[in-house]
């Protein structure tokens, strides 16, 4: 009997030890059920870990430059939190970005030990729609332009972006000049965009091209195409329903297809974005590029003779899409909500937000947007901020169910197929609509 008991105990211990090993966390979750003052406040993405600080310093040293704006912002944020809230025990975590961050955040939510703050870009509206985020206090929501907020289904702002950009048209003045165009007069309408791009491609004769609207088969394509749909007052999705059979959507797709002829074949719809950006900024063989504010750095580093302008419009109606946003929100299940909101307040302080301006990235703070003296000498910021002030922009459309899969169909089977084939656009849209409707059921 004793032996049997011993065997059962041994097996139990073994199972427990294996389970304990599988549990993994080194205190990252931090929420051990203790009081909020004693447990660590776990913050992913914002702030830097020691390794990240070392890496940033090493890069700056190697390049003989100061720390980049990104590193400066995150390090100063940590210093400010330490100074203003010395009793906070914050665990700054590096959990990556995009899918990697989403996966880890969802894992903590599933495990019932959510972080005290969640971050992200494209998937944050899904978190908001699911109702897992705490509404932002009014003082935080009122600090920024509405474009920098994400709302839940009840209309409460639940996430705020710490920085963002909109899409602009960057152009190579030398290539415009080579094609006989005035380098100081970029296109302002779709017709001008096409005419100028066609003219550059023709003048390039296989050596350089005008460029068009990228249709990468992933989010990079949808983000850049969305502003053009919005200019016609339409979008891929309206009120949570797929909208591909809208004639204006199909008209825009036709324009994207026409413009794609001004890319070397396979460049504008490549699975990797790098070849296109290399062609624009390094090889300087593409005249027009649709990109966010970060493109300025690439142009400067490659000594390009460049300019920037708002996106060409169909009939003067603006439309754009937020990109490069760092949204943060506080999960309802967080055990340190007030502390997390205080950290967000620090992250939105004007002195910290001004750091973004040094890399031509827009801050959403009303106090900065309303003070053109802070950025009037910077054409990229002026263009972006004017766009931000003149309308309420958001990220790409959000679907109530299977959002990521719906976008996968749009990116691959609508956008990329439009530019890779000559299949009738209505047929492409109709087939994709059928597939997407099944996903939305």
């Amino acid at each position: 009997m004793k032996k049997r008991l011993l065997a059962v105990l041994l097996a139990g211990m073994m199972a427990l030890s294996v389970t304990a090993c599988g549990g993994g966390s080194d205190g990252g979750s931090g929420n051990d059920g203790g009081s909020s003052s004693s447990a660590k406040i776990v913050i992913p993405f914002i702030g830097y870990t020691e390794d990240q600080i070392k890496a940033a310093e090493q890069t700056a040293e190697e390049n003989g430059t100061e720390l980049g704006a990104e590193a400066q912002y995150h390090i100063k944020l940590m210093e400010a939190v330490e100074e203003q809230y010395p009793d906070y025990d914050v665990d700054w975590q590096d959990w990556g970005w995009a899918e990697a961050l989403d996966q880890k955040q969802r894992a903590t939510l599933t495990a019932g030990s959510p972080l005290d703050l969640v971050a992200g870009e494209t998937f944050m509206p899904t978190y908001a729609n699911e109702g897992i985020l705490e509404p932002l206090p009014d003082d935080i929501a009122s600090l920024v332009t509405p474009s920098y907020l994400i709302y839940d289904t009840e209309g409460n702002p639940v996430a705020v972006s710490l920085k963002s950009s909109v899409f602009m048209l960057f152009y190579n003045k030398d290539l415009m000049e080579k094609a006989g165009l005035d380098p100081e007069t970029p296109p302002t309408t779709w017709d001008e965009f096409k005419e100028m791009s066609d003219q550059i491609t023709e003048a390039g004769n296989g050596e350089f091209w005008g460029g068009g609207i990228p249709s990468f088969p992933h989010a990079g394509g949808a983000l850049r195409a969305t502003p053009f749909f919005r200019q016609l007052g339409t979008d891929f999705g309206v009120d949570g329903k797929i909208n591909l059979n809208d004639s204006k959507v199909q008209e825009t797709l036709q324009f994207i297809r026409d413009m794609n002829k001004n890319f070397p074949e396979g460049l504008g719809n490549n699975a990797s974005e790098d070849p296109l950006w290399n062609a624009f900024q390094k090889d300087q063989t593409i005249a027009f590029a649709i990109n966010g504010a970060w493109q300025q750095t690439g142009c400067d580093q490659n000594n390009m003779n460049w300019g920037v302008a708002p996106l060409p419009t169909k009939d003067g109606t603006e439309g754009n899409c937020l990109v490069g946003s760092n949204f943060v929100g506080v999960p309802k299940a967080s055990k340190h909500k007030e502390e997390a909101f205080n950290i967000i307040r620090v992250a939105l302080q004007e002195d910290l937000q001004k750091i973004w301006l040094t890399e031509s990235t827009s801050s959403g703070l009303n106090s900065i947007l309303d003070n053109p003296d802070l950025y009037s000498d910077n054409p990229t910021l002026t263009t972006a901020n004017e766009a931000l002030k003149s309308g309420t922009f958001s990220g790409v459309a959000v679907f109530p169910k299977n959002d990521a899969q719906v976008w996968e169909v749009i990116n691959q089977k609508v956008l990329a197929r439009t530019t890779m084939t000559e299949d009738p656009i209505d047929e492409i849209c109709s087939q994709a609509t059928q597939e997407i409707e099944a996903l939305l059921k």
């Binding site: 899904t126 699911e130 899969q405 691959q412 089977k413 197929r417 890779m420």
Partner: protein
């Protein structure tokens, strides 16, 4: 009535040995239960639910995911593509690795070098080698550069389903050939050489020796390679993910890659559970068919 004392149980030697053996394998059973059995059962359960990893618990939806799988058509297309692209990979790998195995069995001073060389690609990390492969397939990549140099027109590989499948097969072969060839080689070397000597005495041709000695002698090796190959082909997704990402416009997407995306990228965990169950069942069916039809027939 007086209570009689219970007689102590006397365990036979064989029982004691059996108990000892169970104790030895117990940790492995626990390991398999924790990391294999529980996830398997949970996956089956998830297939009957709707869950995006954000709600507090999965919502039971019965067989809805299975109905969607068989009625929308898209999933069946992916399953069919998994079968034929995986099948082509398996076919070429089996045949070419057999030929390479035969070549490696030839007596030569350099055979050690060749045996090592053929195995090296399977040791290198898929993520790195596939990145090099993808760079070669870029519009201005190495292969198009070579075509230009020999005066041939360049090809936009990622526009064509044919070419993307072609390169998937090439990469699969390059990577998987070595291990299979080494197994074939082991099989070849296990065949009694006196059989070939006897065949020589009887005047058998090379083809006859292959037909009547080599192939029957490799039956069990072949069954191992093909059975593991079927499982591998039906689970192939890393090569698709790294090389084509399902492009052009979803034409090289396969069910296993979709399961990966549905599960841990798009968080449609219920559908991923249902897809995994169906793919698992289909793989078992293929394996049973092969086992019953091919192997039993040969018996």
């Amino acid at each position: 009535m007086t209570k009689t004392a219970k007689a102590p149980k006397i365990m036979t030697k064989s029982k004691r040995e059996a108990r000892r053996a169970y104790c030895i394998i117990l940790p492995f059973f626990i390991y398999i239960a924790l990391w294999g059995l529980i996830p398997l059962v949970y996956g089956l359960y998830l297939g009957l639910t709707e869950y995006n990893g954000l709600a507090s618990s999965p919502k039971f939806v019965g067989f809805k995911n299975y109905v969607d799988f068989f009625t929308t058509g898209d999933y069946l297309t992916l399953l069919w593509r998994q079968f034929w692209i995986g099948g082509i990979c398996l076919l070429f790998n089996t045949v070419v690795s057999f030929i390479v195995g035969l070549a490696l069995n030839v007596n030569s001073k350099a055979r050690g070098f060749f045996r090592t060389s053929v195995y090296v690609p399977s040791i290198a990390a898929v993520s790195i080698t596939s990145a090099i492969f993808v760079a070669l397939l870029e519009v201005n990549g190495g292969i198009n550069g070579f075509l230009k140099q020999i005066g041939q027109p360049t090809i936009t590989w990622n526009y064509s389903q044919f070419w993307m499948v072609f390169w998937v097969v090439v990469y699969f072969l390059w990577r998987s050939l070595g291990p299979a060839a080494i197994i074939w080689l082991g099989g070849l070397q296990s065949i009694d050489p006196t059989l070939y000597e006897a065949a020589d005495v009887d005047g058998a041709s090379f083809a006859q020796k292959v037909r009547y000695i080599t192939i029957p002698g490799l039956k069990f090796v072949a069954s191992y390679i093909i059975l593991t190959g079927i499982v591998g082909a039906m689970q192939m997704f890393d090569i698709i993910m790294f090389i084509t990402k399902g492009n052009p416009y979803g034409k090289t997407d396969v069910l296993m890659y979709r399961i990966y995306r549905d599960g841990v990228v798009n968080f449609n965990m219920g559908m991923a559970g249902a897809e995994s169950t169906i793919l698992g069942i289909v793989t078992i069916i293929f394996a049973i068919i092969y086992f019953k039809v091919v192997l039993r027939k040969e018996d």
